[in-house]
């Protein structure tokens, strides 16, 4: 395999000479670092948001909503049909009946920690007796659970760093007086951690509301969702439908996640285009600077392919270095940062997938930016180039 050995030796020779072209090389590194850094930073928003939705939606659970309601926010399930819903097949049952939790959803004004900033809205969720059976991931980390029937609240651990007056022992002003916060909880990083929870029945009476927003149920084995859906559809008086919880969150988060991704790819795309022009510029000038070296190599019998590959290898090496710098900067600045988007709290995530996306984009820019200069290098007229020495 003489060509392969040629490729390796010419590439190694080229890379050894790289330090002498440090200035132009920095153009690729800096350009790609900026482009990939911006791309990954914005994508980390989308990734963090999607991750939150993924963790919240459990395929082993279903959410029951009115047929006329798109989200739990606009749902209104009256108590009169609750019994029929809970009796439907497909829902797992334990010794005290269906593992189903009718929930109430509202919003609450809370104060941000930063001085002078306006209040924000957080989701206030009411759950029932079966909450822990349906959502076993909910664990108290400080204080205790609210007592059924009591005017007490618990708060998710994602809330406290960003909002004040929500520590265990603080009091929250509600419609019918002040409710103490008796505990804080974790759910392993899902959306509920950015919410405040109390007893659904008591919250509804305080808000003078008669309807639940949704019913969260634990599904039995495979096929039980379909069983449940058929049973609910067979009783049109109920006017409700069941949706796998994971699909519900995927559906309802589409717009926001799609928005973040659209912004990331638009901005990252324009940046990458700029970086591409920079890469082309640098690689053309690198080929120009190596004219004598390339001509000498060709005169010694090295093939055009080996020379071309050495140019693209240089471009790739510089681009990957730039991409790594960009990713590290994005990671250092944003990974794990809390972000409040409307009522949803989540953490920006520079995931391994994003690192792959960043490196992939850098590779694409490097190859596109290296290929034309590489072709010029391969076609360099040897005699003319040597005469110029």
């Amino acid at each position: 395999m003489i060509p392969l050995r040629q490729i390796v030796s010419v590439t190694m020779l080229n890379l050894k000479n790289l330090p002498s072209r440090l200035g132009p090389s920095l153009v690729i590194v800096a350009g790609i670092a900026a482009a990939i850094g911006v791309l990954i930073s914005i994508l980390s928003l989308a990734a963090g948001y999607a991750e939150l939705q993924r963790r919240t939606g459990d395929p082993g659970r279903a959410i029951i909503l009115l047929q006329t309601a798109d989200t739990e926010g606009s749902g209104a399930i009256s108590r009169s049909i609750l019994g029929d819903i809970l009796a439907a097949p497909g829902i797992t049952r334990d010794k005290d009946g269906a593992m189903a939790d009718p929930e109430y959803v509202s919003i609450l004004l809370v104060n941000r920690r930063a001085a002078g900033s306006p209040p924000a809205l957080l989701t206030l969720r009411g759950t029932g007796r079966k909450a822990l059976a349906v959502r076993p991931e909910l664990k108290i980390v400080a204080g205790r659970m609210f007592r059924p029937g009591a005017r007490e609240l618990i708060v998710g651990i994602a809330i406290q760093p960003k909002f004040r007056d929500l520590e265990v022992g603080d009091k929250v002003v509600m419609q019918d007086g002040q409710w103490p916060i008796v505990g804080s909880f974790t759910t392993g990083g899902d959306m509920l951690e950015g919410q405040i929870i109390g007893d659904a029945a008591i919250l509804m009476s305080a808000a003078k509301r008669n309807n639940f927003n949704s019913v969260i149920v634990r599904l039995g084995g495979p096929g039980s969702l379909e069983t449940l859906q058929h049973a609910l559809a067979a009783n049109p008086r109920l006017g409700v439908r069941a949706e796998r919880q994971s699909e519900y969150y995927e559906r309802t988060s589409q717009d926001t996640a799609g928005f973040f991704r659209a912004v990331a790819y638009a901005v990252g795309g324009i940046m990458a285009l700029g970086a591409l022009f920079g890469a082309l510029n640098t690689m053309y000038s690198a080929v120009g600077a190596r004219t004598q070296e390339i001509a000498t190599l060709r005169a010694l019998g090295f093939g055009g392919t080996a020379v071309a590959v050495s140019v693209i290898a240089e471009s790739i090496l510089l681009a990957l270095a730039g991409a790594l710098i960009g990713i590290v900067i994005a990671w250092a600045l944003f990974n794990g940062q809390g972000y409040a988007f409307g009522e949803v709290l989540f953490h920006l995530t520079v995931s391994p997938t994003l690192v792959g996306v960043g490196l992939g984009w850098a590779l694409a820019v490097a190859v596109l930016g290296g290929i034309l200069p590489a072709m010029r290098a391969a076609r360099l007229p040897v005699v003319d180039a040597l005469r110029a020495v």
Binding site: D70, A120, I270
Partner: protein, 386 residues
């Protein structure tokens, strides 16, 4: 100016390099224009927010937990010039995906919210025909409705006194969409809503809109309102229009941080690129600069030539990038991904162009500083000897 041909010729010595530099600058300034333009849009919203307007919401933002009695009490306060009542519900036309949010307005909104795109005659029509609504052209197009069409709106749960969930509206007319109502408008009659909804909710109000006599009192007024009703059955959350505009721009999307970060990254990218291009160009032409100095060009003159050579692709890139950003901005407004999020499109005003030019000159200056200085210090004799 008379040296322009000199600089121009120098730029075209290596056309590929100049064109690539220019294109990179175009990309960076397209992004810069969009980012700073978006910042300008939100800055404009905050600047245009009326200092004398205050909104009073229920503290518990479920539905209708303020009352007409509170309206009457606030209307009697000395600070209040105008007061209007509004409410809304979430409904849909034909299918749940065709969301409709009727905005029910009382007579007071006519003066408390004069930005509403209704003529006095249309206001009279809205009062005279209680189940009529005015749609903006975006909503009308989305729902496929025109003036005179019936527009039954359904709610998820029963929402009427008679236990039904269908509201038999009809379209009185279609008005031009104002840029502040990106999500669209369905303007309806509050009095009709109030007397048709369940008795238990009658007299409830979604929001009070107030114009004050003295704008300087706005913040104090909101505090006073919240204190007054803190321990009433219907506590309030009063906010000035300024604070509300800032809340949307800064706390929901953090527009300043995102736009500044993106534009800074774009400029950083071309800083090295232009710096490198100009350094190479100058290195290749040291002898030429020495000749210019021999011909009597001053040190500063030579330095200026180098800066000009860096500034021309930057400025042309800024101008072209601004043009592309302007073209994109009008497209962006119609993207469904952005419409769903109610994001306003960037404003590519002359002020934004001026900022882009200023940064183009700054980038040229910084990137060309080193080679320009070297040419200023260039010693003719030693340069020509090479």
């Amino acid at each position: 100016m008379k040296y322009f041909p000199l600089v121009w010729t120098a730029l075209w010595r290596k056309p590929a390099r100049t064109i690539l530099t220019f294109l990179a600058a175009v990309a960076a300034f397209t992004l810069f224009g969009l980012a700073i333009g978006l910042n300008a849009t939100y800055g404009g919203m905050i600047a245009r927010a009326r200092a004398d307007r205050v909104y009073i919401n229920p503290h518990f933002l479920d539905f209708g937990n303020l009352t007409l009695a509170q309206r009457d009490r606030i209307a009697r306060m000395a600070e209040v010039r105008e007061i209007g009542v509004s409410d809304f519900f979430l409904g849909y036309y034909r299918e749940p995906k065709n969301e409709v949010v009727p905005w029910f307005l009382d007579r007071g909104m006519r003066r408390a919210y004069p930005e509403l795109p209704l003529t006095p005659a249309q206001w009279d029509q809205l009062q005279a025909d209680p189940s009529g609504v005015f749609l903006d052209n975006h909503t009308a197009a989305r729902l496929g409705l025109k003036a005179g069409d019936p527009m039954p709106v359904l709610t998820a749960a029963p929402s009427r006194r008679d236990g039904a969930r269908a509201w038999p509206f009809h379209v009185l007319g279609v008005v031009e969409n104002p840029s502040w109502a990106r999500g669209g408008l369905t303007l309806a009659n509050y009095d009709y809503y109030d007397r048709t909804r369940p008795l238990a909710q009658a007299g409830h109000v979604g929001q009070l809109t107030i114009l004050l006599k003295d704008p300087d009192r706005a913040v104090a007024f909101t505090d006073q309102i919240d204190r007054t009703f803190a321990s009433s059955p219907n506590p309030t959350f009063a906010v000035t229009e300024k604070a509300q505009a800032q809340n949307g721009a800064i706390y929901r999307f953090n527009i300043p941080l995102v736009t500044q970060g993106v534009s800074a990254a774009g400029l950083f990218m071309i800083l090295f690129l232009i710096g490198n291009a100009i350094a190479q160009s100058v290195r290749e032409r040291v002898a030429e600069f020495a000749v210019l100095k021999t011909l009597g060009f001053s040190d500063t003159g030579v330095m200026t030539l180098v800066f000009a050579e860096a500034a021309i692709p930057c400025l042309l890139g800024a101008l072209t990038g601004f043009g592309i950003a302007t073209a994109l901005a009008s497209k962006i407004a119609t993207l469904s991904a952005l419409q769903k999020m109610a994001v306003a499109p960037p404003t590519l005003s002359p002020a934004v162009l001026a900022v882009a030019f200023a940064f183009a000159i700054l980038v040229a200056f910084v990137s060309a500083a080193m080679p320009a200085w070297r040419m200023r210090r260039l010693d003719i004799a030693s340069a020509l000897r090479r």
